[in-house]
Assembly symmetry: C2
């Protein structure tokens, strides 16, 4: 990493607390992780909808969306995946600093990368949500037809097929999408936020 | 740029309008551009302070700050400067999408780069503010001692000394910091936002 000794942190006049106090919420990152097709985006969308309808200020960073913009130059090699998650972590940190509850829905297969994001913010500002859907179920769903392509060798470095997924061992919330509906899972997450004091703070 | 044909835009349930309607503001980018030492960060901070005190939701992206995080791997070559501004533009777009008024304070010396950012958002969501402080004044201030270092050849590619600055030709707002105080300049910018319907929208 190139560093420049002429860089200094510019003190900002408006603090995170001042930005979020008009919102009655405690900013944080809801970091969804899980296999492709596990239901991360669907659940994150539902959680965001519930929070927005209740007047909280949220933003959703989505794997597909961010790769078309900020990370459009990155591919799917291990190296690019690391940089992909690093940038998303840094952007999430900015959103937390701006006072928002930010939801991120990325496979984020490597434990070390998720740990690195966790270290960017205060310990109570990072909530890891493991969408624990078995590979067999994700593959049977194959919503985007990606598993078929990966098995046929048309996609390389595909998580679960030709690239590793490291399961979280101490996620704050673990959700199962086989036995529960999207609404049930989303409500469980919102209840966690209420219980832990993130809402009506 | 590597692209992946398997990427699709994931429709998001909560829209920009829904995110910002609880705020009575029209989200936009206030893009400050000007030489090092021209006063960009100082003015942007003052504008943010005024807006925050009046209950608007803002966020400030600052050159020094973002280079320590998201863009920590980038240097100051022309190529890295282009990528620096590209990423800041993409992040600004995300903040506008989240409903905020985002202020950015970067030298952003190249017209083409600023134009590219402008094209990322709707035409009324990008407000270019030229902090028109002459080089001689910036160099006399030399707040961070960078001009001295640049003249001594200790910093390469320094805008105004060894790298070009392309002045905006149709900035929405042009401010002069020699004849006016920070407060006067900041108030002028806030008045522009009021007049154009960005506040109490």
């Amino acid at each position: 990493m190139k560093k420049d000794s002429n860089l200094v942190w510019h003190p900002q006049c408006v603090s995170k607390e001042e930005r979020s106090k008009i919102k009655n919420q405690k900013p944080c990152i809801l970091w969804f992780t899980g296999l492709s097709g596990s239901g991360k985006s669907t659940i994150a969308n539902e959680v965001e909808l519930i929070l927005n309808q209740r007047g909280y200020h949220t933003y959703l960073l989505d794997g597909d969306n961010i790769r078309l913009g900020l990370n459009s130059g990155l591919g799917f090699s291990d190296e690019d995946r690391v940089e992909n998650i690093r940038r998303i972590g840094e952007v999430s940190k900015l959103f937390v600093d701006s006072g928002l509850i930010v939801l991120t829905a990325f496979i984020s297969p490597f434990m070390k990368d998720r740990e690195r994001v966790k270290c960017l913010v205060n310990s109570d500002e990072f909530i890891e949500i493991f969408v624990d859907t078995p590979l067999s179920v994700c593959e049977a769903r194959d919503t985007k037809g990606l598993y078929t392509k990966a098995r046929a060798g048309e996609i390389v470095n595909f998580t679960g097929v030709s690239s590793i997924y490291e399961e979280p061992i101490d996620a704050h919330i673990v959700v199962k999408t086989e036995a529960n509906s999207v609404e049930e899972v989303a409500n469980k997450i919102v209840e966690y936020l209420e219980l832990k004091g993130y809402l009506d703070a």
